[in-house]
Symmetry: D5
């Protein structure tokens, strides 16, 4: 039974909601399409967050990142979109998304975007 | 005479209780079971702490980490559980537990949890 | 003007056909689909060959490797298919294709396939 | 639905049985028990083989390596056992199993065992 | 149709102008001429910036860095010039340019120059 | 004429006593005995200090570290003892001793201890 | 007084002409132009040779490699040209030129070309 | 109950005596004394062997290598002595001992010694 | 025409005197003599500074570092001397000199010395 | 009492003259002068040999390599000279000298020279 890509990030209850702690998930298998040329782009996406009420289920993150495979996005935009989607689903205290894009035209690009819930102090780790 | 896994973390008197200093123990041989699939998970567990009255005996830490071998735990949960058990046994000034879990579904996960005794200033090293 | 993936490997005349020499092309951006689950697989494909009358044009190789993006193949099979296609197009003295596939189920897989024109001696470099 | 460890290595038809080629599978998540002390041992198992009529299905290899988790074996013995089981199931032209066992008593141990079908010439890659 | 080097850095609208985030572009293919000896110099140029209204188009950055190929510049000067040109075109919140120049006379040189819009707080990542 | 281990750390006048600066000495050849089992332990000892009136003579440090070869000490204790001895002899503005002990029972241990003369500000480098 | 690029490779008498030995010179600062697009290409050129009557003067090799800066060449061709020029000037027993070209279109290319004087046995080191 | 160093290498029956295979044991914790100065020397000892009737028990190897701690030996001599002792105890088909000694006087030394039973063909792995 | 070592550090006008920026020069080819034994010592010298009115000319730095080749200096002293000479010549806002000295007696030594013009804020990069 | 550089390589009796074995000594602290410019050159010298009747005393090798400090030599020549001197003193079965010279003009150079006593078979390790 083949699985399918999905835009839905599934969350479950954080088993330790009272503690501020870090979860970092690193996926070196992100690919999307260049909106100018239609050619594939490749990146490593790293998401570091501090959960509040929810933690993000790992398998749904895999399906979520897969969902960009056939879409066209600029590097700066897609990194922001992932952060926005992640924050909407997980409602974390803090989140940071890093996209490390492979060399194009002799230049590699790394985009780092972060979110902090307004009432939160600075990141722990 | 075979040894056995144990949930008991043995402590001994800290020979230098007046000084704030760091002890970091790194174990790349942690394994547990996935509570969803029952399949083995593997991680490197690193415990950094600042002892107060006690230091943790190294052999008992080995047996303690071994005790998770046949249990099912989620990544975020087990890292918090190890911190809680460690703090209860060692009653340290500060403790931080990091679990670096191997790739599953193309994604690796690192969980970092910390504890600070309420009266303590920030970490030394 | 968007480019498109293509199964055609374009060759041009080898500027030094009388000399036996090695050309190695390494592409860490290969992706295909698992024929069992439909999920993306990722690999680094390395092609080492000794040209005879032709050398393979680099841009057409990029479009050729891209052409597997939406196809389903087993690791062992797709590495052999790339070698077969390459040999048919380039008609080299010697060719070796290596596919280094990312971790799945805690196991990484590397497939190495080679071809030697019957009248050729062993590889140079 | 939890999966289970299994001693059965599943094989499927080699899609390119006429070509001699290499398949290398590397699993850094192998664990067994020391038959003397009952304590866990950890190793990276690497299997390189040249398929004949069959190739080994990756998921069954994962379940097979898992099956040693609760068994007690010496380093030299378990590496040979894996080779024997693999050869019996896959009937390859050539196979080599390497077990790189973690430090015990300040010493790390690597065991390398190989098999060659009597009629085969030496390994390709 | 051959492309040409260009001093013009093309910018496009920042798709997320309200968020402070980092973009880092690394080019290991920078070359210029030594103004004393006329001999080629080689460097890796890294540009980290926090976009405001604009982001810099990657291809134009490639053509811009190419434009130094036949010019003569001292290490300290050219790194400052790149920052000045970048700030003028991109009008970022923050920008930092690093030039890591290859060994000359047994000594390697790294120049780091930064700009911060007067009203901005300190860098995010 | 054989040299001998010695507990005496020889100091000489700091040639630049008015400047706060760092001296770091790293010795990967430290060995002592486990007080429980009598078996050898191995560590890398790193001493970072900011000299005041004195600097420590390198050869005497070698003989001093050698003096632990036949003594039995716990990891946490011996690192503190080295700091205490060093501070007593060198009377530095600041000193930090790190002991990185080799794997025992699958776990490596790093102990970091520091001293600051009460009137000193924080470390320079 | 500025130096100039030059196609002339200067040789001097081999001080040990009776011994077969290896000289390897590695230059990570090679750049040329793509004959299709006119854009710069970058490579590391490594020359390994066994001198006969002559050795190649290092400074002239630098000027020689510089001479390709404004010329257009395909990867496979320029590596062969360097070997041909080197063999003509140095008349070595053996020579091998390797060109490791930077990523273009997600693919890096390495070209290895060798020459052996007909009466020579195989390479020493 | 403290353990003691011992010159006796304990062997047990090889569970797979009919197969030629490699066992490599690496100990980075070897120390002895310089017979000239009496000062400690440090080395990594690696033993690769092909067992015949016996394999060497790991714990006894640890105690054996420990037995050199208070003895004085030259680098070349002690590496040969270890090989001789190992061959006498294990009676292997093949054995190779490598001693990588730490820097002394700005020079590091590596000694490699091997033994082959007269009737054996060349090493497998 | 042979060049000569020189104690004179040549400076030229800083082309961007109004900006605070970093210049780091790293020389792994520093050698001097031990004042006790007369034997050669070797180090990597790294100079990081923030220029004010002047920048230091690279070739003169090479000749300056060369000038220590036949002099005898202790590690701590020579690192301070280089900083003093550099500050006197370049009159920078900030300067830091690091000397990483090779292993002697099993111990490597790193000396870090810094200078800050009294009116300057803290270092940029 | 300062030591002095010396051209004399001291040998002592090989304690195991009947066995063919390898001794490799690596010195990253070799420096000489460029005979053209008079400027210092730096290299790592590695000597691998198979002793016959003699082994070379380590301290004398240090003094011997030191003796080149104030002499002018070309890379190819000095590597051959070291081999010739070594063979004359040690009269080994086999010897190989490698000189890895630091970057000059953007190019690093490695020279490998070997000697084999006419009656010897090929090298062991």
């Amino acid at each position: 039974m083949p699985t399918k890509p999905s835009k839905e990030l599934v969350v479950v209850a954080n088993p330790h909601p009272d503690r501020v702690y870090d979860v970092e998930m690193r996926c070196p298998e992100f690919t999307t399409l260049c909106p100018m040329t239609g050619q594939p782009d490749f990146a490593t996406i790293t998401i570091l967050y501090q959960p509040a009420e929810y933690i993000v289920e790992l398998k749904s993150l895999k399906l979520y990142l897969w969902s960009f495979r056939d879409e066209g996005h600029f590097h700066e935009d897609v990194t922001n979109i992932i952060l926005n989607d992640f924050v909407r689903a997980a409602q974390p205290r803090y989140a940071r998304v890093t996209g490390e894009f492979n060399v194009r035209g002799g230049i590699s690009t790394k985009v780092t975007v972060e979110y902090r819930r307004s009432e939160e102090p600075s990141v722990a780790g």
